[in-house]
C-alpha cells in the first residue's frame, strides 16, 4: 500500500482568546491563510499539486461558517483549483484532518494534502453553533449530557485524582512550555501572524503564565462547582449515570484546564512520489490512525481506549512509543492517560501543552502533531503518538515514525 508522510508542519502562535488577545483582530480566513501561505513558501509548493485542504474547525458559524476550508483557500495564495473541506470532530478536528488526509493518500486518492485547522475562539465563541446534544431532551436526558468540565471532574472523582495532582501537572506544563520557548524548540513550527503591511501582530504564545506555582493555582476557585452543585445541578446527572459515586469532586479550574485561545496550524501530507516529484524530503511516516466512540457522559476518557485500539491495530505496544502528546484539555485527562498506561510523565507532553499555551479547538490536533515531530527530531527518537479527548465521548490518535 502507498505510505503517507509528513513533509512539513507549522502553526501560528496562540493568542489569548479574549477581546484583548493579540489575535482578536485577525479573522479566521486570514489566520488560516497565514499557515497555508507559510507551507507554500517554505516548501516552494506548486499548490496545484494539492488534492484538497482538509480543515478542522469546531464552531462553524459566522466567519467560520460556509465551508471555511474553501474560504481559507480563496483567502490564501493557493491556486483556486484547490478545493477545501471543513470538518468537525470537536477538539481532535485538527488531528482528524491529518488522519483523513493520510488515509486518502494511502488509498491512492491524490498525491498530497494540506491538513490542519483553525479556531478563532475570541471571535466565534465556543458553543455559539448550538448543538442538539445539550438541549434536545430526547438526547440530553437519554445520554446523561453534562458539559466537559463536569466530565473532567467525574474523571478525577472516578480515578482518584486530587486537586494537588492536577495543579502539579499544570505547574509542570507551564514550566516545560517556558523552557521549550526559551530553548527555541518551537522555532521551526512557529509562523508569526502579520498584518496586511507585514507588521508582526504576534510572534509568541501569548497565553502562557511562566512562574505559575502551586500557591498561585491554589487560590483559584473550581470552575464547574456551581453548575455541578447548584444551577442547574449537573452533578445529579453524573451521579445518576455513575451511582456508585456519592459526590463529584470539583478539582478543575482555569489554571489546570486548557486555555481559550486563537490559533491555526497546517500540515503537509503526501506520498513518496509527491516528495520525489517536488524535491521534498519526508520527515515522518504516518504509521497508524484511529478514532473511537466512548461513554459520552464521562466523555473525555477517549485517549485511553483509542490508544489501545491504535496499538492493537498496528501491532505495537505502549513501550514502542518514545514520546506522547496527550492534549491537556483538562489535567485529569492526562493524569488518567498516564495512570492507565503507567507511562513515565517525562515522556508525555515534554514541551508543555494546552494548559500552558492554550487549545484553539480546531487547530490543536495539528499543533500537537507538529510539536511531536519537532521534538522526535530534536531528541533523535523514532516513534511518537498524539491523542486527544473529544466532546460527546470520542477519542482520536495518530502514530508517527521518523524516516
Amino acid at each position: 500500500m502507498t505510505e503517507a508522510y509528513l513533509y512539513d508542519a507549522c502553526r501560528t502562535p496562540r493568542g489569548k482568546g479574549k477581546a484583548d488577545g493579540a489575535l482578536h483582530e485577525v479573522s479566521a480566513p486570514r489566520l488560516s491563510a497565514t499557515v497555508l501561505n507559510a507551507l507554500k513558501h517554505r516548501n516552494d509548493l506548486d499548490t496545484r499539486a494539492i488534492e484538497d485542504v482538509i480543515w478542522g474547525n469546531v464552531t462553524q458559524v459566522a466567519e467560520q461558517g460556509a465551508c471555511l476550508a474553501r474560504t481559507a483557500v480563496l483567502a490564501s495564495e493557493f491556486d483556486e483549483s484547490v478545493p477545501g473541506l471543513s470538518i468537525n470532530r470537536f477538539c481532535a478536528s485538527g488531528l482528524e484532518a491529518v488522519n483523513l488526509a493520510a488515509n486518502q493518500v494511502k488509498g491512492g486518492a491524490g498525491m498530497a494534502y494540506v491538513a490542519g485547522g483553525v479556531e478563532c475562539m475570541s471571535r466565534v465563541p465556543m458553543g455559539s453553533d448550538g448543538g442538539a446534544i445539550a438541549v434536545d431532551p430526547s438526547i440530553a436526558i437519554a445520554k446523561y449530557f453534562v458539559p466537559q468540565g463536569i466530565s473532567a471532574d467525574i474523571i478525577a472523582t472516578e480515578f482518584g485524582f486530587t486537586r494537588d495532582q492536577a495543579d502539579a501537572l499544570a505547574v509542570e506544563s507551564q514550566k516545560r512550555a517556558a523552557e521549550a520557548w526559551a530553548d527555541g524548540r518551537f522555532a521551526r513550527s512557529i509562523v508569526p501572524v502579520r498584518d496586511v503591511n507585514g507588521i508582526e501582530i504576534l510572534g509568541h504564545d501569548e497565553y502562557m503564565r511562566p512562574g505559575t506555582d502551586m500557591q498561585s493555582l491554589g487560590s483559584l476557585k473550581p470552575s464547574f462547582k456551581d453548575m455541578g452543585e447548584v444551577m442547574p445541578g449537573f452533578d445529579r446527572i453524573a451521579i445518576m449515570k455513575y451511582p456508585h459515586l456519592e459526590r463529584i469532586e470539583h478539582i478543575h479550574h482555569a489554571g489546570n484546564s486548557s486555555g481559550i485561545v486563537d490559533g491555526a496550524a497546517a500540515v503537509l501530507v503526501g506520498n513518496r512520489a509527491f516528495g520525489e516529484k517536488y524535491g521534498l524530503r519526508p520527515r515522518a511516516r504516518i504509521r497508524a490512525t484511529a478514532k473511537i466512540g466512548t461513554d459520552p457522559t464521562i466523555m473525555l476518557t477517549g485517549p485511553v481506549p483509542v490508544t489501545e485500539k491504535i496499538l492493537r491495530d498496528s501491532g505495537m505496544t505502549i513501550g514502542d512509543i518514545d514520546l506522547f502528546e496527550v492534549n491537556e484539555a483538562f489535567a485529569a485527562v492526562v493524569l488518567r492517560f498516564m495512570q492507565a498506561f503507567d507511562v513515565d510523565p517525562a515522556r508525555v507532553n515534554v514541551n508543555g501543552g494546552a494548559i500552558a499555551m492554550g487549545h484553539p479547538l480546531g487547530a490543536t490536533g495539528a499543533i500537537i502533531l507538529g510539536t511531536l515531530l519537532d521534538e522526535l527530531e530534536r531528541r533523535g527518537l523514532g516513534t511518537g503518538l498524539a491523542t486527544l479527548c473529544i466532546g460527546s465521548g470520542m477519542g482520536a490518535a495518530t502514530i508517527i515514525e521518523r524516516v
Binding site: 438541549v135 430526547s138 440530553a140 451521579i239 445518576m240
Partner: protein, 733 residues
Amino acid sequence: MSDFSYSVDADGVATITWDVPGKSMNVMSQAGFVQLDGMVDAALADPAVKGVIITSGKKDFAGGMDLNVIARMKDEGGADPARAVFEGVMSIHRILRKIELAGMDRKTQTGGKPFVAALPGTAMGIGLELPLACHRIIAADNPGARIGLPEIMVGIFPGAGGTTRLVRKLGAMAAAPFLLEGKTNEPKKAMAAGIIDEVVPADRLMARAKEWVLAAKDADLVKVWDRKDYKMPGGTPYHPAGFMTFLGASVMVHANTHGVYPAAKALLSAIYEGALVPFDTALRIEARWFTHVLMNPSSGAMIRSLFLNKEALEKGANRPAVADEKVAKLGVLGAGMMGAGIAYVSASAGIEVVLIDATQEAADRGKAHSADLLDKGMKRGAVTAEKKAEVLGRITATTDYAALAGCDLILEAVFEDPAVKAEVTARAEAVIPQTAIFATNTSTLPIGELAKASMRPGQFIGIHFFSPVDRMMLVEIIKGKATGDRAVAKALDYVRQIRKTPIVVNDARFFYANRCIIPYVNEGMRMVGEGVAPALIENAAKLVGMPLGPLQLVDETALDLGAKIARATKAAMGDAYPDSAVDDILFWMVDQGRIGRKARAGFYAYDETGKRLGLWEGLAQKFPRALKQPELGEVQHRLLLAQVLEAVRALEAGVLTDIREGDVGAILGWGFAPWSGGPFSWLDMIGAARAVEICDGLTSRHGRRFEAPGLLRDMAATGQTFYGRFASRPKAA
C-alpha cells in the same frame, strides 16, 4: 342528555354552557367533544351569531378530562393503538384549533367570530386547555378556584394543546412550574402569571364576557402565535437565552424525576421540538409525545393508582354496608408525636378532640404542636387567625380521663408496650359510651393481642398513622379477628373526614406497610455488609423511584428501633428468623452509638443541627468495599423485590384483600416507586413470568428470601396479571 347546551341571545351572542348531568364537576368525555364540536360549527355557520361565550352551568368550569377515558384510550385502540390514540388526540386539536381560528380568513386574519371563556370557578386540565384556545379568558374572582394544568401529577401531561399554547404564551421558563410541576393558582394569581386575561366579580362574569364579545375587533382574535412577528418569550432553544433555559430544563427534569417518570421527559421534548416549528406543527408534535406517554404502561398505572383507585378507596370502596359513622368527638390517648399529630388533623377537620396524657405538661405540649403547624400555615397565608383559634378551640388537653365521656372514637397512641396500652384501654373504656369504637395506633403489636384488654373486642380496631401525621396521606386500618363491621365503618368514615386515604388490612405481624418496608431497609443493610458501595445502594433506590434510600430511611426511623424490632421478631420466630446477616450490621451500628439522625450519627454523618453531610466514612473500614461491585440493575431488583414479594405474600396470606389497597397503600404509605403504580402494577408491567425469572436468579445468588411465592409462580404459568385476576370488583379500574 347532553353535556353542553347552546343558546343565542337577541344581540347575537351564543352561549355554550358546559353542565354534565349528574356530576358536581364537569369532566370531558369523547361524547362531550363531539357535542362541543357541533355547537362550535353551528355558531360559526349561523350568520346571526356574532360571537360565542363558553361557560359552565356549575359553580366550577371543569376539573379536566375523565381520566377513565384516558386510561382506556390505549386499550380501546384496536390493532394499532398508537395510531388510534394519536388520531384521537389530533381530532381534539382540530376542534380547539377551529375555535381559535374562529372561521377567519387566514390570509387577511379577518372575519372571525370571537370566542370567550367565562370561568365561574375551578378550571383544570382540559378545563383550561379549552379556554386557552379561546380568544379571551375571563374568570370570576373566586379565591377558592384553582386554575392550572395538573396532568403531570398523574403521570401524563397537557395533551390537548395546553402544553404548546402555554409555552407560546409565557415562554418555556415561565410555563415550567405550571407544566412540569402541575402548579395551580387562584384566578388573580393565574392572571398575574399571564395564564388568563381578566378577573371580574362573580356577578359580572357573563355581562363582561358578552361585552368583550361584542366589542372584539379582528386583531383581538389573532393569537400572538398566529402573528407573523411572533417571538417566543425567553427565546427558542437556539437563541442564546433559550439555549441556557433548555440546557437547564433537561437537567432539572431528569434529576428531579430520577429519570423514572416518562411523562416529564415527553413533556419536555414536546416543548423543545414544538418551539422550533410553526404552531400547527407543534400541536402535532405535542400529540405524538402525548401518545407516546399514553402508550407507556407507567401512565395508565399511575392514573389507576394515584387517581381512580385512590379516589375509590377514599369514597369507601371497601366499607361495610352500615349506617354513617362520622366522628363527632375523638379521644386521643397519648400526646406524643403521633397523638399530637392525630389531634391536629382531626381538629382541623372539624372534630372535637380530647387529648390526654399522663401530665398536663405533656398534654399541653401535644396541643402546642397544632399551634406550631397552624402558625406555619399562617406564615404561608394558608391559615387565618380565626381558623387557628377555631382549630385550637376544638382541642382539650387534659390528664382527666373523665373528659372522654361522650367520645364516639378513641385513638390510643401511647408507648408501644402492651401493659401500658392495656391500662389506658381499661381507663378509657370505663368512661366512654358503650357504642364507642376503640382504635389503637400501634405499628408493631398485633391488634388481636391488644384487643384482649378491651371489654368490647368487636369494637376494637387498629388505625395506623404514618409519621409525620399531618403530611402522610395513608392510614392503615387493621381488622383484628374479632373486629366488627361497625368498627371498620367508623375507621373509614373517620379517615374520610380527615381527608386521608385508607386501606383496610387483616391483623398480622407488621400489617402491610411495615411488613414491606422492613425487608427493604434490611436488604440495604445486608448489602453494606457485603461490601456494596453505600452510595450505590442509596442511589440505586432513588433511581428506581424510591423517595429515600434504605440507609437514609433507617437513619430517619432510628436504628435502635430497628434493633428492638429485630430482637422481638427473632424471639417470635426462633430458628426460622432469616435476618441474622442484617443484625450483624444493625447491632454493630447500634453498639457504635450510630443510631440515626436523632443521635446525629448513623449510616450518614450529620452536623450538630442534624443536617445530613454524607455517608459515614467509617463504614468502609468495618465493611471493606468489595472489589467487584454489582450492576445497578441487580441492586435495584434486590431493593424492589424485597418489598414487592412481601406485598404478594401479604395478598397470599389474606392480610391484603384488595390489590388496589396494596398499590395505593404502597405509594402513599412509604413512597413505593409511584411511576410504577405500586407493587402489583409493577409486577403486571414486567409480567409474572419475568418476575419469577428475576426471583429465581436472585434466589440463587442471594438466598431464599427471594423465592417467588406460589401465587406468582401460578400466575406466571397461566400468564395472568394481578389486575386481570383480582380486579373482580366492578369499581376496580
